[in-house]
């Protein structure tokens, strides 16, 4: 079997499994998995920049929130239906990402981290400042009537799972395609040795900028879908916490792997979920588990699988 066939089989198998699971999962886990798939899209978007291009952003909540508010504002202010509202979210994400990229990519390393962090903080404060339209911290609910897409009620659990699944599948396929394309391979080359990539004739700035835009747009898609599917838009999603989450998910699952973001998100979601059933000090348990994992699987779960067993993993 060629590497390509194995890749198709493994990732196609996961998608088939996720599609099948919705018929057998109990309601609680069914709801969780829908949420995890949307958050995994966020992590996959983050991974394009961090995992594949080597750009460590501490401000991705800006993109997640741009998508969420782009969608939410389209619904609130323009009365848009879900499909155009989603597009509003994507455009908001792409525009914000292009602007941030054009400015922040003039810096590198720690300065880049700080600049992205500051931009995201500015975005968070802007949400609060324009509280008269955004409703600030309190946020606003997207009503059931506003979540009807071509006669499909997105607040219904089954439809919601299906919508989350479709978004997840599209983004997973897009990432697989991207990272195996010549363009994606240049991103990896930049991550590995930027100077060498430049001296092979690649426009490093342009490649990074496109990576930021793709990453920001995918993160925005997750933010928009999250607001739409779960019916709430609020400033928490623009806070620094939401910039740290995708970094953790990707580190846990394996940076620079296509499956890592999903596995990391799944793992962390259930780690917190299960430990909070056992004790109120659940963050402690989660923290210890994270430290153990970082010690024994520094490349993340899928990263370890790749370096030990399946070298062909994209």
């Amino acid at each position: 079997m060629s590497d390509r066939q194995k890749t198709v089989l493994l990732h196609g198998g996961l998608l088939a499994l996720l599609l099948g699971l919705q018929f057998v999962l109990p309601a609680y886990h069914h709801g969780n998995l829908a949420r995890i798939m949307v958050l995994a899209v966020y992590a996959m978007g983050y991974n394009i920049m961090f995992g594949y291009t080597g750009l460590l952003s501490l401000g991705h909540a800006l993109f997640f929130a741009a998508g969420m508010y782009g969608m939410g504002m389209s619904v609130q202010l323009l009365g848009a239906t879900p499909a155009p509202a989603m597009i509003g979210g994507l455009i908001a994400g792409a525009v914000v990402a292009a602007a941030l990229g054009a400015l922040a990519l003039r810096t590198a390393d720690v300065a880049f981290m700080i600049v992205t962090l500051m931009f995201a903080q500015a975005g968070y404060l802007a949400v609060l400042y324009f509280g008269s339209v955004t409703r600030g911290d309190e946020g606003f609910v997207i009503q059931q009537a506003q979540r009807m897409m071509m006669g499909i009620d997105l607040s219904d659990a089954t439809n919601r799972y299906f919508a989350a699944f479709i978004l997840f599948a599209l983004c997973l396929i897009a990432v697989l395609w991207l990272v195996q394309s010549p363009f994606g391979k240049v991103l990896v080359a930049i991550r590995e040795n930027e100077e060498r990539a430049r001296m092979l004739g690649y426009d490093v700035f342009r490649h990074k900028l496109i990576a930021v835009i793709l990453s920001g747009t995918m993160s925005a898609a997750a933010g928009a879908a999250y607001g739409l599917l779960f019916g709430y838009v609020g400033a928490t999603f623009a806070s620094v916490q939401y910039s740290i989450f995708p970094l953790l998910w990707v580190l846990l699952g394996g940076a620079g792997t296509a499956l890592g973001p999903f596995i990391g998100t799944l793992f962390m979601f259930y780690l917190i979920d299960l430990s909070s059933n056992v004790t109120s000090a659940y963050m402690l348990i989660a923290g210890v588990a994270l430290v153990v994992l970082t010690l024994f699987a520094p490349q993340g779960l899928i990263g370890e699988v790749r370096s030990r067993i399946w070298r062909w993993l994209p």
């Binding site: 010549p182 391979k185 240049v186 990896v188 080359a189 590995e192 040795n193 100077e195 060498r196 990539a197 430049r198 001296m199 092979l200 004739g201 690649y202 426009d203 490093v204």
Partner: protein, 236 residues
């Protein structure tokens, strides 16, 4: 016809003038060796040509056009290739992928790229290691990989910075033959400490000393030049 020339090319590093007002002309189709003692400014000079570092002042022309203000990647895309003195391969990627990254600027399509990569790896006799991780190669083999990455670009000007450092004698012999074989298609600027490589491959030699051109001429002329003997050959 001149492929590349510089005028008053100068580079200062915090008080140290590494390259000092160099006027340099390289005719198309020539194999030119650039020699000089350690710290003479050879690497700095070629880095100014391909845009890897910014000059303090001076101009570069390539194929009749002023490229002084072009960023490095645009210069490379005009048909220059540069191989690093300090091996700079993609250490965690396979040998094949290293060369493929260099090839994809010129050829498109999976099969075409693979063909170009294997042809270049054949030229340096690394084909049987195509699937290895580049960082696992011996130092000499990484040098050969660097050369393959330069070759696969089919550049009009190939700049090689001490390519034979760390190669075995038989690999050096193969390298000499390889360079001579490129003569019809490629102009070569070769920085080299190994005098047998210089004498057997170069059409002309430029000697750099303290950032300035000390002498220029055929291998025989340079060999006989007393100033060169004093500055370099005698001590080297």
């Amino acid at each position: 016809m001149t492929l590349l020339s510089t005028r008053a090319m100068t580079k200062n590093f915090a008080g140290l003038t590494a390259v000092n007002a160099v006027d340099f002309d390289l005719p198309k189709g020539e194999i030119r060796a650039l020699i000089g003692p350690n710290g003479a400014g050879k690497t700095t000079f070629v880095s100014l040509l391909c845009g890897r570092i910014e000059p303090t002042s001076g101009t570069v022309e390539f194929d009749g056009a002023d490229i002084s203000h072009l960023p490095a990647h645009k210069r490379i895309n005009l048909g220059m290739a540069y191989t690093f003195q300090i091996t700079s391969v993609f250490a965690r990627l396979s040998v094949f992928e290293n060369v493929a990254l260099a090839a994809r600027k010129r050829v498109h399509g999976t099969a075409q790229v693979a063909q170009a990569v294997h042809a270049a790896l054949d030229q340096v006799d690394l084909n049987d290691r195509a699937e290895q991780i580049a960082g696992d190669l011996s130092y000499g083999h990484q040098r050969l990989l660097e050369i393959a990455m330069g070759l696969v670009q089919r550049p009009r000007l190939l700049i090689l910075d001490e390519p034979t450092q760390g190669l075995t004698d038989s690999e050096i012999d193969a390298f000499k033959a390889l360079v001579r074989g490129l003569k019809d298609t490629t102009t070569i600027l070769l920085i080299e400490h190994n005098m047998s490589v210089v004498m057997e491959t170069a059409d002309r030699i430029t000697v750099l000393n303290f950032g300035e051109i000390l002498a220029e001429g055929t291998p025989t002329e340079i060999h006989a030049d007393a100033r060169v003997q004093a500055a370099y050959l005698g001590t080297g």
